[in-house]
Symmetry: none
Amino acid sequence: MPKVGMEPIRRKALIEATINEIGAVGSLDVTVGKIAKRAGVSSALAHHYFGGKDQILLAAMRSILARFGANVKHELAGAKTPLQRLEAIIAASFHADNFQPQVVASWLTFYVLAQNSKDAQRLLQVYAQRLQSNLVYDLGKLTDRDQAHRIANGMASIIDGFYIRQALQTHSDRDDTISIVSEYLHLQLKQASLRTHT
Amino acid sequence: MPKVGMEPIRRKALIEATINEIGAVGSLDVTVGKIAKRAGVSSALAHHYFGGKDQILLAAMRSILARFGANVKHELAGAKTPLQRLEAIIAASFHADNFQPQVVASWLTFYVLAQNSKDAQRLLQVYAQRLQSNLVYDLGKLTDRDQAHRIANGMASIIDGFYIRQALQTHSDRDDTISIVSEYLHLQLKQASLRTHT
Amino acid sequence: MPKVGMEPIRRKALIEATINEIGAVGSLDVTVGKIAKRAGVSSALAHHYFGGKDQILLAAMRSILARFGANVKHELAGAKTPLQRLEAIIAASFHADNFQPQVVASWLTFYVLAQNSKDAQRLLQVYAQRLQSNLVYDLGKLTDRDQAHRIANGMASIIDGFYIRQALQTHSDRDDTISIVSEYLHLQLKQASLRTHT
Amino acid sequence: MPKVGMEPIRRKALIEATINEIGAVGSLDVTVGKIAKRAGVSSALAHHYFGGKDQILLAAMRSILARFGANVKHELAGAKTPLQRLEAIIAASFHADNFQPQVVASWLTFYVLAQNSKDAQRLLQVYAQRLQSNLVYDLGKLTDRDQAHRIANGMASIIDGFYIRQALQTHSDRDDTISIVSEYLHLQLKQASLRTHT
DNA sequence: AATGAATGAGCCTTCATTCAT
DNA sequence: AATGAATGAAGGCTCATTCAT
């Protein structure tokens, strides 16, 4: 039983516990005490390692965002063409990891948190902008700049829309979801190409 | 002058105060005390009329949903063709009344509330299903049943997506938003007609 | 049992309880909960009426200061000559009301509080300056300005000194104490008059 | 190189840190953790060496008292006559070492501590009695026993009074302070001699 | 019709203290 | 000799809720 170097272990456990707790109680009533209990430690320890409730939530948020980023990167690895890259981003968005109930519930909580916490807001905006630039970058190779922005905007919205509907337990099939978003992309591109070439 | 018939006045005032309070504090920290103060009454009175905090929130939710329904009905009034009706639904969704910051913040809160309250969940689902059936009904006249469901699903998601992005203060232009959703509809219909006729 | 207009009664009771609690536990460990219990109410009510612990302490401080001020005013009422007025101030300082163990313990607490609270500091300085100006004013009629300030300074210090020693339970006789301070005053005045007339 | 003989070094550092911490935060909020951090060690070590918070404070108190005693002894070294000795005690009381803000803040803290801790109380009383006997002893050579006690009492009070006023940041000039106390002594002695010879 | 009074329950946070390493 | 790990206990504060008037 190691008695040193516990910090990373505890941090990880607490972050995991936070996400699961949010998933379990649906974001309301999420309490430092309950998170700590779920992680098998005292609430004092949670404060010791994170400094406060907000920072625990923020850390959980960062963790989810990081995992999402990693998933995107991973999916992107095998993609060659811009279109493949765009499809990869869609796939990553609905990757099982990111689309789990607890994770989706966490997203919802973070959206709410972002209404009052500058830090949470910044975090969420950084993520949103990165997604947006990824989309715009690849779309830019397939159509003009204005269309790229427009389509990126639509895609991001439709993805967020499916997320929030998932949070509401309007369970939809993952593959159906992906195909709807993917189809959106294709139709928009076809239409954009028509517009451009006319 | 005995004050009679105050109940509907107070209820209305409290519901309005609830929505504004949610809009003001961003859904967190919304307190019966603050709602009551905003409505100019004591918190005890709020309990007296509604029975509890959850029911106050539910009433506010019903109010927003009702207003939304009225807006839809109003927009639908002048619509003749199925396509016009679908456009009317889109227009109503982004009608200024429904797209105000406080209202959008309230939606977010209700989504969260729905995670824990059966009543809130039911309310939200009733609304979602009504929207869905409206969409499916009109789409059904323009394409086959499967396609209708699919397109309705996509439309609802993209609308919800724009809502949540609005809640995050990713302010987008109302007309742009409408045109993106509307375009989505048209492209899907064109595509569906191709599929059907082949 | 009156159920309205409780506020002043509760405030008074809580302030009294604060002073007694400070006296009882010796200023350390003084807790909102204990104060409230001593006043026969819940700690929530104490917060309701005062807003927070600091403000409760501040209110107790103001009460003691006010009582002190009233005692001074009362003693001053029968005083005619400047010398009588100065003696009256001394008498008031060691008046039974102000020299009770709980009250003296409260003073000590307030001194400590003043180290960290701007409000407490200001309060204490207002009191100190008022005492100082009273002393200087009357001394100024008996000697020159410089001497007046000097003697006032000495008198205030010796009074404070007896207070703190009282807080330490170095019980000294009240009359002895008064006579020592009074004697200080007389000797200083005699000396000052010598200095001036030479 | 095994670290041996660290104990006295750590103890000294912790005591010094305690005094400075009290001076820095104004006696409230003084925490074992902060003291330890200031001393550059873990709070566990502080407990290891002292056994508990109270004992750390007590040790700091003893240190200040000892330093004060040393200062008195040092000043007394050059004093020949009783009067010179009395003046030496006054000088020592306001010696720069003892009149530093941190030291004065510590005194205030100890006064508060003494309200609840038997040990602190005893310590403070030992110091007070030693000072008192010193004063009485020398005064006894200049006047009768009753007068000696009386004057010693006044002197001690006036010194304490200046201390507490210093703690309240009513900064007074050191030399002025000394001269006021010294003058007190002289006037009292003159008066006492009159009384005796009459 | 309306409210002031009052509280219990619960949450976040801090801190002295212990223990194994 | 020294510390990271960990916690129990307690405190300040908030809030939904009840009740008598």
